[in-house]
Symmetry: C2
Subunit: 286 residues, 2 copies
């Protein structure tokens, strides 16, 4: 497999993440084409030098000559695109993605691809509260994690290439883990936190209360301003793991409630000490 | 009642909040004395010009001539101090506090004070993850809320003075509300968020997971590094309201879980849309 900087890329889905991939890869000297249903995104990206060429209706021409295809799509749209367009991919092409859930999509995508086309799943853990290629920004990747989640169907070459790609895109940390480990972890650190933020925001209808709000409430609800189309897809694609994580959190919150109800201040303090110790460890690891 | 800048203050409990009061009041030209059980805090504050005089064992001398006494103590310690030292307060003295809970402490404190000594309860909604007068900082008050929570026992003069004090300390917003309204609000925007952060941190023992953590998890658990002595006191002093708020949040989180379990993506999206709309409104109000 050639080095990242010597590859031609085609980005399918030129949104916030796909657009940032394109920017980073162009800076490295790669040839980058793009496919997107939105003519405006293609036009903007061409004019701003983010891509060399792009099209909303001629994917075949954009895919021609691409060594690597980046699927920058929502999970459902990615499966749909692969179902329809897999036949356009030449043998030897490497395909990767940006999906925030893995087990539900990786197997089906690998099964749909023609012989000689390898799919190496990746999850760039970065995002913003706004979307679109016009909000793309390489700085978004700087302090973030890049996860490679191979299956038994992947070659070592593809795994090594994916790690190289993460580094070339500027990510701070690159990790390799299984799709199942990935989904359990993401159920806890990302999806559960979003479920909590949404629930906290919905728990009280009194708009008046926000007049008195301090930093802690702002911090906990920042991500409550959520894109419901993307996140409901991600939640359902990882349903079992997320339901399990919510249950675990409910039991943990119930420990606090029971200590209050029974007047057990020693238990309450012990819970607070445990959480404080874990959180400090966590700051040290940053 | 004279203007804030023309008053002599005695700060009882020279910690993070009491220390910041002292710094701000000295800058305004007030005479400021302090009482604290920690000789080191008194010594440091004198040497750094934060107070004019202070003592660990001679409260009577420090209280002499003070027009206003600021109780910068934890709820339990405040009740104890008032029980023991109320007799030292001269008629005409105004007493105020910094407690994060109100209904449980305000009535008892007002009842313990001698005739002619008025207690006007206040809650400066500011804090840091570190304590002590050496971490005091007027900047902490700049974007924060100052709440005055009078009872029927308070005079209009004292309420007006408390509002003036909040402004003189540099708070961004001053509000007046009842102790009961205060405790309900604080149960939601502050105590519930701390209970959630602690529970989220305690929900999963896998330290390994934090290697993959993004900003959302960091934001939600920042306050999980909690001072268990102060916060267990605050939780218990507002027990009924906090148990009620936890219950309301549990029902809200259960709506998300049930939508996932029953495959009801329309309900899940509606919950996300509601939370996003509320959060946006909230940003606008800032």
């Amino acid at each position: 497999m050639r080095a990242v900087s010597e590859c031609n890329f085609c980005v399918v889905g030129l949104g916030l993440l796909g657009g940032t991939y394109a920017m980073c890869l162009k800076r490295l000297g790669c040839r980058v084409t793009a496919v997107d249903i939105d003519e405006g995104a293609i036009c903007w990206a061409k004019e701003h030098g983010v891509i060399d060429d792009g099209s909303a209706d001629a994917p075949q021409a954009m895919l021609a000559g691409a060594h690597v295809v980046v699927l920058g799509l929502y999970p459902g749209a990615m499966m749909e695109w692969v179902r329809t367009h897999a036949k356009l991919l030449a043998p030897g092409t490497l395909v990767t993605d940006v999906c925030g859930v893995k087990a539900a999509v990786v197997g089906p995508v690998q099964a749909l691809l023609p012989p000689g086309v390898e799919f190496i799943p990746c999850h760039p853990m970065a995002g913003r509260e706004v979307g679109g290629v016009w909000n793309a920004s390489p700085a978004m990747f700087e302090d973030a994690n890049f996860l490679v989640t191979p299956t038994a169907a992947n070659t070592n070459e593809a795994i090594e290439f994916a790690k190289q790609l993460g580094r070339a895109l500027g990510f701070a940390r690159i990790s390799v883990l299984s799709c199942e480990e990935h989904d359990r972890m993401i159920g806890y650190v990302s999806q559960l936190t979003h479920a909590i933020a949404v629930s906290l925001m919905n728990a009280n209808a009194n708009e008046h209360l926000v007049d008195y709000t301090g930093d802690s409430f702002r911090d906990l609800t920042r991500i409550a301003n959520i894109n419901e189309t993307l996140w409901s897809e991600l939640f359902f694609a990882n349903r079992a793991a997320l339901i399990e994580e919510i249950g675990q959190f409910e039991r943990s919150l119930n420990d606090v409630k029971r200590a209050l109800e029974t007047g057990d201040s020693e238990t309450l303090k012990a819970l607070m000490r445990q959480s404080a110790a874990r959180r400090r460890l966590f700051d040290k690891k940053k």
